[in-house]
Amino acid sequence: MIFEERQIEKNNFSSRAILLFGLIIFMLLVVLIKVFSLQVSGYTDYQLAALKNKNYAVPVQALRGEIFDRNGMVLVKNEPTFDLITRPNLISNIDSFLEAIEPVIFLSQIEKDKYKKLQKDKAFVNKELVLKKDLSKEEIARFNVRSFNFQNAFIAKRYRRISDYPEIFSHVLGYTSRTDDDFKSMPEIPRSHWKDAELSYAQGLIKGRTGLEEVYNDYLSGEHGQRVYEMNARGQFLKPLSFVEPSKGSDLFTNLDIGAQESAAKYLGDRRGAVVAIDLESGGINVLYSSPVYSINKLSNGISDLEFQDLINDVDKPFFNRALQGRYPPASTIKPAIGMYGLSNNIVDWDFEMKDPGFFTLPETGRVFRGWRKGGHGKVNMHKAFLVSSNTYFFSLAYQADILELSNHLSSLGFGQKVCLDCFDEDQAFVPTPAWKYSMMNAGWVKGDTVNLGIGQGYLVTTPMQLANYASLLATKGQFTEPSLVSLGAQKKPLKTWEDDGFDNSDWIKMHAALLGVIESDYGTARSIRDLKKFQVAGKSGTAELVSLDSKEAYQEVRTSELLRDHSIIIAFGPMPNPRYAVSVVIENGESGGAVAGPVAIEVLKSLINE
């Protein structure tokens, strides 16, 4: 090559090399800018992503608050039991490990098989595994002596939700069961981590399902803590990084009274029925009892399928909370309400007298409505009509009532609506109206329907809770006590009063005197319970007919079938003249209100008053 050619070649090379090296430098710059955008602009996002990769947070279960009665006696507590927990990653040979531990802890074949199945996976990720639940005292003692042999196992506390009164408080306290929606309470922990939660309860993550456990679930629940582990790409736990302790739920102080509830259970016995008692000063519900009962301890901590099926199939329906959901005709216990209606609407006054021949004939149709006593009660005024529970008097009073006004009046006393502030699944029963009857039965309201309402029969149904609320309204002369199981500071109860221009304090005094006479006078229908106590009690009993019959003879035939027998009902309050407690009792198919339901009411009042 000649010199000029070489020079051209060299220049050509130089310019092309500059081009390529320039391109390379440009690419390095692009990479540098990209790295800058990752490390400086995108730093927070990527740092979070890196933390999310390695930090594995697991929830640590909080204990639920405990539940107490009004005297500070514990109703539901957290009782420790002991489980044997192993660290599978420290177990090299699973068979020899099981062989070594078998003399110490009794293991069933099922427990061994289950353990063997899970051991390998848990060992790989360095997680713990329960070998045996609920160790006996002997097993704990044996293990503690030999624990130096078992560096790969330890005993840990696991709690159970236990009541010392699992049956008599079953409906009101309710039970807990496993839940899988606790993850909502901690949105910062991914849902999949909940399978690794550190549990405090043997049952795992639990939640109130019925009763106070359900209504006050949020209050009782507490806040789960969390432990953060460092985890590698294969999902192995390497070491704990941080721990936030769980905070136990708040304790619940209820208005319930163990002694009174025990009385209710004892005197109701194995009959079906319900008792509700209310503290007139606070509105606190002291007794809320439904019979028959079941064991909340079993429901909360594990019940066999067979036992559970037995409960479900029981004809007496133990899960049915009669105190809040039982719909019963109020029968004669409604008479004070009808009387209030008559007085405030000037249909009758306390002096008005009429003859009670033992029956009432509906003028329009000639239909006969019978009293409970053949031949009647002679001349009756309102006072006597309460004492002897004259049906004729209240038939004729109801006959003169306007059904819409009467329905409104009954509603104003709390019927047909929920009255308890914090009861679980309370039924509102209902007060009938012409519109209701027309829509339900496609038939018009007839005068006879109103007449039946006068003695609490027919379409009107009430719950024992509503009856107790009604009894407390009568006892306080119109003050609504707003019954509640728990009095939390936040629940400011509005002061509500039942008022009517036609019903003044003198009427209340006469009403109290008449209702006192029902129990305390020689003529009262419930005088049989007079001598069971030392203080005075006012009330009204009732016998709810399940079949409408014309004669006593016909009833004798009906009562051979127990489930068709009359319900026995009473409402009562005392001690008079300054009542502190009101109570309602319903005994299904118990017949004769005063004599059957009456003693239960008296015993409950006695234990509340501490006699």
Binding site: F13, A17, L20, I24, M27, Q39, Y43, A50
Partner: protein, 362 residues
């Protein structure tokens, strides 16, 4: 000592840069391998051997390389053939050949043989290069590319193709020819995609364009790499403190993704330092190329150093998510003897070409 340095052919700038890179490389490898001293020690031996090879290789006169270039290419291709016939299959690819106790990735030699052969073939040709010469050059490049590509090893094959094309370009390939080829390449791209690429290679390219489509599958690597680099921040998490690296969220930390380890543990400043060393090394090569004694040396220095640069850029672009994942180590840092040996060999040749001066006009 000074007299010894004056006697041997030696470039202190390149020596110093490579020394720095190798020391840093061992240091990073210690962290990337979760403190596995065995791996570091093995790599240390490779580094020492590499330096010795480099110094030895830089002593002979460039003319020897020129005369041997044809033999060298044939030897490399023979080695490739031996690999094809006798090499063990690892992960579905035949890339290794055993020579005594050591395994060697035979395609690494082609990275050197192809540019040197082409430089020898083209250095005395008249400008502009004639069609016949272009066709012979391209045929050589394509044959070597294809043999390696079929192993299959797309990354190395591309680098070999680049090494040849760089020399062709530097030796004065006409612009009109390149324009025409580019159009042809674009037109044949559907054919390349459908016929030439293996399914896993297509998958890698697909995930590159849509990494979130499959975060736990194929694009896991690239997502974790970005997280590692990004979470390093300005100063890094500290030596041995990178959670992505130490807890194995980052894959292939010792080889392809070692740059992500550096990014995570030493931050932007660490990256800046590392890239500065590479840049310095490249600028020195550029200077040597311009000041080389003849056209052959210029072409070889240019070809080899640009091949090294392409290797570097492809690795960097891959780990930061600018290119699809192709197996490509970070030069002088990643674990692995074969690529390290061929790199030291290349720089030995570069030093030889850059330091042997001819004062007499031809």
């Amino acid at each position: 000592m000074n007299r010894l340095f004056q006697k041997i052919y030696f470039d202190p700038y390149i020596f110093f840069s490579l020394f720095l890179l190798s020391v840093l490389g061992l240091f990073f490898l210690f962290s990337a391998s979760n403190a596995d001293m065995g791996i570091v020690l093995k790599q240390f031996i490779y580094v020492v051997a590499g330096f010795i090879i480099m110094i030895l290789i830089s002593q002979p006169d460039p003319d020897i390389f020129r005369r041997m270039s044809g033999l060298f290419l044939i030897f490399s291709l023979l080695l490739l053939g031996v690999t094809y016939l006798f090499g063990p299959e690892i992960n579905g690819a035949q890339r290794w050949v055993r020579i005594g106790p050591a395994s060697f990735q035979s395609s690494e030699l082609l990275k050197l043989a192809v540019p040197i052969f082409l430089a020898n073939f083209l250095f005395d040709k008249k400008l502009p290069i004639q069609r016949k010469e272009i066709i012979i050059s391209l045929a050589t490049i394509f044959c070597c590319f294809f043999l390696v590509f079929r192993q299959p090893d797309l990354g190395t094959a591309l680098i070999i193709a680049c090494s040849g094309l760089f020399v062709l370009f530097l030796s004065g390939l006409s612009w009109s020819f390149m324009g025409g080829s580019l159009i042809l390449l674009i037109m044949s791209s559907p054919f390349i995609w459908n016929i030439l690429l293996q399914p896993f290679q297509r998958q890698r390219i697909a995930t590159f364009f849509n990494p979130e489509s499959d975060p736990f599958g194929a694009s896991w690597n690239i997502i974790q790499s970005k997280v590692a680099i990004g979470s390093g921040g300005l100063l890094g998490k500290g030596f041995g403190e990178g959670s992505q690296t130490q807890l194995n969220f980052l894959p292939e930390t010792e080889t392809d993704f070692i740059f992500s380890v550096i990014g995570e543990e030493f931050g932007f400043l660490g990256v800046l330092l590392l890239l500065s060393i590479y840049l310095f090394l490249l600028l020195r090569c550029f200077y040597l190329a311009l000041s080389a004694r003849d056209r052959f040396c210029r072409l070889v220095i240019g070809g080899l150093s640009l091949t090294f640069a392409a290797n570097l850029i492809i690795n960097l672009c891959m780990v930061v998510g600018l290119l699809p994942v192709v197996g490509m180590p970070l030069p002088f840092i990643s674990k692995g003897g074969s690529s390290l040996m061929s790199l030291f060999l290349a720089f030995g040749i570069i030093v030889s070409m850059g330091t042997h001066k001819k004062f007499l006009p031809q």
